[in-house]
Symmetry: C2
DNA sequence: ACAAAAGTGTTCCCGATACACCCATGC
DNA sequence: GCATGGGTGTATCGGGAACACTTTTGT
């Protein structure tokens, strides 16, 4: 016996919801699909699973194809399995979301691929159920980022507290008190202050911080409660 | 064009991690696998996806085959996609977890299937990567139950506060203060006290409660913080 | 009357919030 | 010297945790 006979084999795709942050607003990386059906329509970056790779490997390969980046934070989100989601042929999609530092690769963008950043709020109509996937990813982002230090993955290695605050404000579409936010953040012990300052945002300059890798790893699963009243921001 | 040519189609299975609670300890429902390979070894309840069903439908179908139950709380957990996880043929598995009221079906158990409840802590060696799946499910259970009123799905429609407390204590392998626990629980507004009492556990008897369906639905996503220091119970 | 479990109330403390001022610098 | 954004300190409030006694009833 070398195969399970009589069972149906199914096409399996991996689609990536890729978030980036440019310092101002939260963005989503989309491509113009290069093949039929729906050629030239906007789409998430995706591809079919190959025979000898794991799902995580497939997701990493696909991300690399588009962005050239490796070692990026990715997480499996959910399988989308409605039988009719792809009109050509029944295809399961394993959705991953990924956070990248937008500046790390902005250059090679739209060379080989027609890729473009869209503000998350102004995403165009996407093929198949990709708009669903994006919405789901946005919910999951809000959910997880309220509890875990996830959003740091969207920032460069060195960042300032005003930057990370702006990012949180963007994700939750709200305004936070800078005194409380900064206290809460620093009290986690996650941040190591650098001597250098970022003079871009103001005359005075804001201190750069780096993550303490040990504490970051340690506290990643802890419930840190970055956002007051997080439930107010969760879709029911 | 009616198919994506040149792409590999893959076998996809759904495996269910089924939790139950008998009032004493948390249990896991396992079956003896009925076909090769690994015939007669203990296994999660699973099956192959069929062409015209969604993933959720597949999970529900498989659960029904084993337990006869419908309308059970199920949630997609994670895809397990290591290429070698099934030695016969590459098979993806979509893992679901399910919570059932153990008493609702205890009778028809092990008729058609060799099914058996195992205390979660004493689960036997399972086929393939099923022990991994169980471990992952246990982590997810602890994670979610610390925040959301999930464990009620394991209890009958009417239950007492000592019962639900025992369940929490079981899941987290700890002891909780009954005064604080009961106050916290009642303050959510989730519970409606019945007039009737359960005289089984004590002479005095404990009031039965039911869930308020509206509030339950409403607050399911809220962060309710049932467990003090939840991070202490999460695997890093 | 006594054992065994259910039910309830109070104090204390810490963490969360609201809120206002000084600091450094480029122009 | 003034405008701009960065950084810090304090009082208050509420929720969470620690903790002990009374109630019910079957035996």
């Amino acid at each position: 016996m070398t195969r399970y006979s009589k069972q149906t084999r199914i096409l399996v795709a991996v689609d990536c919801i890729i978030f980036g942050f440019d310092g101002e607003i939260l963005k989503l990386l989309l491509i113009q699909r290069g093949f039929e059906p729906e050629k030239n329509k906007w789409s998430l970056m995706g591809g079919f699973m190959e025979p000898n790779e794991s799902t995580d490997e497939a997701a990493a390969r696909i991300l690399k194809q588009l962005t050239g980046l490796e070692g990026v934070y990715m997480e499996q989100m959910q399988v989308f399995g409605e039988p009719q989601r792809d009109p050509i042929e029944r295809t399961l999609s394993i959705a991953y979301f990924a956070f990248i530092d937008i500046h790390k690769y902005e250059k090679q963008l739209s060379d080989d691929y027609h890729a473009e950043w869209f503000p998350l709020k102004e995403a165009p109509k996407l093929i198949f159920d990709h708009n669903n996937m994006v919405e789901k990813a946005r919910e999951m982002l809000r959910y997880k980022a309220a509890l875990h230090p996830l959003l740091f993955e969207l920032l460069p290695e060195k960042f300032t507290i005003p930057q990370i605050q702006t990012l949180y404000e963007n994700v939750y579409d709200t305004v936070l008190d800078k005194r409380n936010f900064s206290r809460k953040l620093l009290s986690t012990g996650l941040l190591i202050r650098q001597d250098e300052k970022d003079k871009g945002g103001s005359k005075k300059g804001a201190y750069y911080y780096k993550l303490d890798p040990a504490i970051y790893k340690d506290k990643f699963q802890a419930f840190l409660n970055f956002i007051p009243n997080p439930q107010a921001f969760l879709t029911a």
